[in-house]
């Protein structure tokens, strides 16, 4: 009888109809569902966006490796990317609300910030001549590093809210970009295009397959 009472008081709160095990499993379930729903939301639109921008990086940076002055192509790719992203988000997003608009504003603010620094850092009028031949390619690579790291910084921050997977993705691509800039300048754009863009496409496919 004493043993039974001791056993009962170890597992059950005397003022509650719920046992300690039930309470513990309910708390675990709450955590699990929280992660699951955040992942489902991410998979709803983020998987497509990662694959889209991964493909854009592959095309854009690979073109930059082989074609001089490929920034004109970038303008087209970015505009197409933004338009498709807007369509994907507005049609496929599983959530709606005021904070969602703020995500767009955050991205625009970030792009504006990066564009401002590009304008500030590139010497005005230095697009031709011997000075450009000497410093232009390095400057262009630095600008590419700036854009890639700014985008990946956004992924790191988004990962803190959604899932650490995105933070790791952002951090790995940032490190890979800096390594390529320092140690493989000859293949820099191809490295970012195939490595970085490929990582984005693969991550999008992973999210699409396992998080939905």
């Amino acid at each position: 009888m004493m043993l039974c009472h001791a056993e009962y008081s170890m597992t059950t709160n005397p003022i509650s109809p719920i046992s300690r095990e039930e309470a513990r499993s309910a708390l675990e379930e709450i955590d699990r569902v929280g992660i699951q729903v955040r992942r489902s939301i991410a998979a709803g639109s983020m998987a497509s966006m990662l694959m889209l921008w991964g493909a854009i990086w592959i095309v854009g940076f690979s073109a930059e490796q082989f074609i001089a002055r490929a920034y004109r192509l970038w303008l087209v790719l970015d505009l197409v990317g933004l338009a498709v992203t807007f369509l994907l988000v507005s049609r496929r997003s599983p959530i709606k609300g005021p904070s969602y608009g703020r995500i767009w504003i955050s991205w625009l603010a970030l792009f504006g910030y990066a564009a401002f620094w590009c304008w500030l850092l590139v010497p005005q009028g230095m697009t031709h001549g011997p000075e450009w031949t000497a410093y232009g390619p390095v400057l262009e690579r630095k600008m590419a590093v700036l854009w890639v790291t700014v985008c990946m910084f956004a992924y790191v921050v988004m990962g803190l809210w959604l899932d650490r997977f995105l933070s790791w993705l952002g951090a790995i691509i940032t490190v890979a970009t800096l390594v390529a800039f320092q140690f493989a300048p000859g293949y820099f754009y191809l490295w970012i295009g195939i490595g970085g863009g490929g990582a984005l496409v693969a991550s999008g496919a992973f999210i699409w397959r396992y998080w939905r």
Partner: protein, 96 residues
């Protein structure tokens, strides 16, 4: 002292509230995404949502997107407070 909420305590409703409370306030989640995430059928999900809506724990917002009906759901302030209370009660039981 925090109390177990009998409406939230039902397993399916606990999962629904967990999903909606995991979102930021005023963010609404699509009905279909919620059903798929929790592996609940439309009928089952609908019945539990009605109970939660009648208790004032969630808000159901129906609209049309591309002429198709879409239902979005969010936890109300009252629902969030009751859920937090419920979680606190569960933690207390675990501590006892």
């Amino acid at each position: 002292m925090a109390e177990i909420d009998p409406i939230i305590h039902a397993p399916a409703r606990l999962r629904i509230m967990s999903a909606l409370v995991a979102l930021q306030p005023r963010i609404q989640l699509d009905f279909r995404t919620l059903g798929n995430t929790l592996n609940l059928t439309d009928g089952n999900l609908g019945a539990h949502l009605q109970t939660l809506e009648e208790a004032g724990y969630i808000k159901v917002d129906k609209s049309f997107v591309d002429r198709k009906p879409r239902t979005h759901l969010s936890a109300t302030t009252r629902g969030r407070a009751r859920f937090e209370d419920h979680v606190a009660a569960l933690r207390e039981i675990c501590r006892v």
